[in-house]
């Protein structure tokens, strides 16, 4: 139940102490306490947004390529992360680099979540979402800004894409920009492949890159 009750019970009957400890251990699973926690989170997220205190909202989305973490600032989506990127580490980095006011606020990201669903069910080929690119600067940012030019179902090599952004010798730097893309999927770095046409490396892992290219290829065909 709780420490207080255990204390009161324990004084009256030492045998009750064990029962108290057992029920205290079970308190974490207490359904009414869990419901109260859920209500607290909902109230906090909506009131934080009203008062402009929701600096970073996040939620997760279940997809065929695993659980995605999506996070947004008031300006737009700032991070998309695959499970293998360690979501706790991604949230800690956002707290450090953007703002520690990071809250689980699924309702605020409903539209984004729906668009990801639609992408995986092939109802959607592009995303209609505002983005916040503050985590990328310099040439990395140039690359991210031009990646959406590589349309759905198409692929380019790192060298070709470097030439497209006016830096034909910068294939390696394009690779770095893709490897550190804060918004994979939304900014389609998976469409940049090796010059022999094989997928190459990917933030989410090469098997996910292959799956995304297959999905887009089948739909575009």
């Amino acid at each position: 139940m709780n420490d207080l009750e255990r204390l009161l019970a324990g004084a009256a009957d030492p045998a009750a102490d064990a029962a108290g400890a057992a029920s205290a251990a079970g308190a974490a699973a207490d359904p009414s306490a869990s419901a109260a926690m859920r209500r607290l989170r909902v109230a906090l997220a909506s009131r934080a947004q009203e008062q402009n205190l929701l600096d970073v909202a996040y939620r997760t989305v279940d997809t065929p390529v695993g659980e995605l973490l999506i996070a947004a600032t008031p300006l737009g989506l700032i991070r998309v992360a695959y499970a293998r990127q360690d979501h706790d580490a991604v949230l800690a980095a956002l707290a450090r680099d953007v703002s520690p006011r990071v809250l689980f606020a699924p309702a605020k990201l409903d539209d984004a979540a729906r668009q990801f669903d639609d992408y995986f069910t092939r109802r959607r080929r592009g995303f209609d979402l505002a983005v916040d690119l503050q985590l990328a600067g310099g040439f990395r940012r140039t690359v991210l800004e031009h990646l959406p030019d590589v349309s759905y179902g198409r692929t380019v090599s790192y060298g070709e894409f470097a030439a497209e952004v006016g830096h034909p010798r910068a294939a390696r730097a394009v690779g770095t920009a893709c490897a550190t893309n804060p918004l994979p999927l939304l900014i389609p770095c998976h469409r940049v492949v090796l010059s022999d046409g094989s997928p190459g490396a990917y933030i989410g892992g090469p098997e996910i890159k292959r799956a995304l290219l297959d999905l887009e290829h089948a739909a575009a065909a």
Binding site: A19, A36, R39, L44, A92, A95, S99
Partner: protein
């Protein structure tokens, strides 16, 4: 060292703040107080020193919010002598330990605060004293008096059998 995401503060300390608020206020006000406290904490969070005792900080904020709510109610609801513990028609199931919280809320203010912060929030007497604006010795005395009064007002039945009884039969 940087601050963890505020969301982790909610996960780690949400339950204890809710419980402290339950010890201070009726159920429907307790959740409002907890949300008020976390909203105020969220606002101030970027200025918190990373090595601070977060739980003690949150309980201090919850204390202020609970005092605010009680003060507001005292101003607006003078004619009502005794507010019913659970308003009729509420779909919310009572928490299983409602009778205990009700007993805590009947304690005199200082005892109630000392019991909530020491026994429910598990804070040291020095922290309890800081929140209450009193001395450590006084906080310790209030908590001891509160526990003594609770033992009289809330005698637990013997053994574990009592724990499986539904709340309404205990009340």
């Amino acid at each position: 060292m940087s601050l963890p995401p505020f969301d982790r503060v909610v996960s780690e300390h949400g339950r204890v703040v809710l419980r402290v608020c339950r010890a201070l206020l009726p159920a429907h006000d307790a959740e409002d107080a907890a949300a008020d406290a976390f909203l105020a904490a969220l606002e101030a969070y970027p200025r918190l020193r990373p090595d601070s005792d977060v739980k003690s900080w949150l309980v201090t904020i919850a204390h202020r919010k609970a005092v605010d709510i009680l003060r507001r109610k005292a101003r607006h609801a003078m004619p009502v002598d005794h507010v019913p513990e659970r308003p009729g028609g509420s779909a919310e199931p009572a928490l299983p330990d409602e009778p205990l919280w009700a007993a805590v809320r009947k304690l005199p203010t200082k005892q109630r605060h000392a019991v909530a912060y020491h026994y429910v929030a598990d804070l040291a007497y020095a922290e309890v004293a800081a929140i209450m604006g009193t001395s450590e010795a006084a906080a310790r005395r209030s908590a001891a008096d509160g526990i003594k009064a609770l033992r009289r007002a809330y005698p637990p039945a013997s053994g574990s059998e009592q724990r499986s009884l539904p709340t309404k039969e205990m009340a």
